[in-house]
Symmetry: C2
Subunit: 299 residues, 2 copies
Amino acid sequence: MNARTIAFSGSGLDRADHLRGDAAALARLMDGRARLLRLDGIDPVCGDDGGLAWGTLAEADASDELIFLGIDGEGRGCFAVAPGAASASVAPPNPRLWQVLGALPREPLATYGVARALAGWHARHRFCARCGSPTRLAKGGWQRDCQSGSCRAEHFPRTDPVAIMLVEHEGDVLLGRQPRFPPKRYSALAGFIEPGETIEEAVAREVFEEAGLRVDAVTYVCSQPWPFPSSLMIACHARARGRDLAIDSNELDDARWFSRAEIAEAMVAGERGESGQALGAPPPHAVAWHLLDWWLRRG
Amino acid sequence: MNARTIAFSGSGLDRADHLRGDAAALARLMDGRARLLRLDGIDPVCGDDGGLAWGTLAEADASDELIFLGIDGEGRGCFAVAPGAASASVAPPNPRLWQVLGALPREPLATYGVARALAGWHARHRFCARCGSPTRLAKGGWQRDCQSGSCRAEHFPRTDPVAIMLVEHEGDVLLGRQPRFPPKRYSALAGFIEPGETIEEAVAREVFEEAGLRVDAVTYVCSQPWPFPSSLMIACHARARGRDLAIDSNELDDARWFSRAEIAEAMVAGERGESGQALGAPPPHAVAWHLLDWWLRRG
């Protein structure tokens, strides 16, 4: 992944939203030139060059539900198979997945991200949440329709907004450790934005819940689609009114203030793959990396 | 509604996230002091003063599922009843609803917004999307659990991020008319953020799809929870590279450029309730109003 761009963005595919509901146009795109992204459930399959492996639609079964990912630069339709009934439980991310993704250039990484988010959504939404009846793929995979004649509910892929925030106090920033992190890794605090909250309110609530700090001056920095399973990371900066922490031990192993020098050293060490540092920076495919990079550059 | 604050934000309730999973603590809050928000399905019920009507938990049936909205300033638990099986289809917003909401002060409006978003989610999610089995309210209404022993999936309220954008070109701004708008009303273009998109990519895609314009320099302005049914409006400004429009007539009745003077006149007329203007501004409870207000003040 290129550390200078936001990972999982910039697929280069034309989503061609207007074709999703046009069955004839979709059928025309499903020709011999069409590309099928090979997936193992919702995990990527690699070609000999370490990149994403693509086949043709001849590899799909007649009963497979096909997701229309978009049109590539050569005008070819790009598709993926929605996982079938046997795949309703899909594996969470594992170290091998991160290794594969870490080697992908920007565009295929983003294409895989769209495919993973959608394929995972299909696997988890084979039934109607309103009435319990089976659903069927519609609009090129950007919708599922309830098959019950008395319900007919339409369901759409879900994207969960998450606030992630760099909290600053007198030139230091607050980072926390989740229990699942590798040794020494600290990163920005984060949490799902709830119904009835602005982004700014969610930032303030999460920082208070996890670290006991009141913040103000919340500003937006950047955003990132994060298909594990379906988040939109909304990265912000906030100013803490004090520095005394009350850490929520249910959420975090630890949280502490880091100086600009500590962050700068950890980011350089992370790029070089050095491991002897006191602080392990977030990986460059995480939006937390961009938050810290933005903060260091801002000076 | 106070035009100077973001509608549906700032409820003043403490969400007390840490209590949601604590059955004993929730039970203690369900005492004689607890307040039950009266709802008609998911619509508000008004008291004699035109404000939200509240009762006690004695009004709920033993079989009702209770949503924990939070704790008010006097330490009382605030609850609402999740709509039962008969309410799986809830009415969309209607003119009477807008009239009621327009008369509410900021805090009760935001409290109702949380209740509407959650109650509507419960009504639409009585079954497990993964296996089709019935689900049951959990964690004070901030979760529903599949009741099938072989599935046990946990489901969470959904919040759909929407990009809404003020597109500017040489001092003019682009506004569009949706078919459902009242006469003369124009507003900012908007659309759901899709899996695999940053906020900025979604803004660029929507403006190109709806108006045929390429944009750059996308910046974040503000955000708003919008419980119709479950959106998070993310308001942005973008700069158009040209001004020739290609309007998507499936999405919009019309779109056109407006001068600063036209916007200023429409916003003043809207506040005064004047109707003779060429342009009807968005209502002050819409985030589009704040986008235009921000743009006029920015100068």
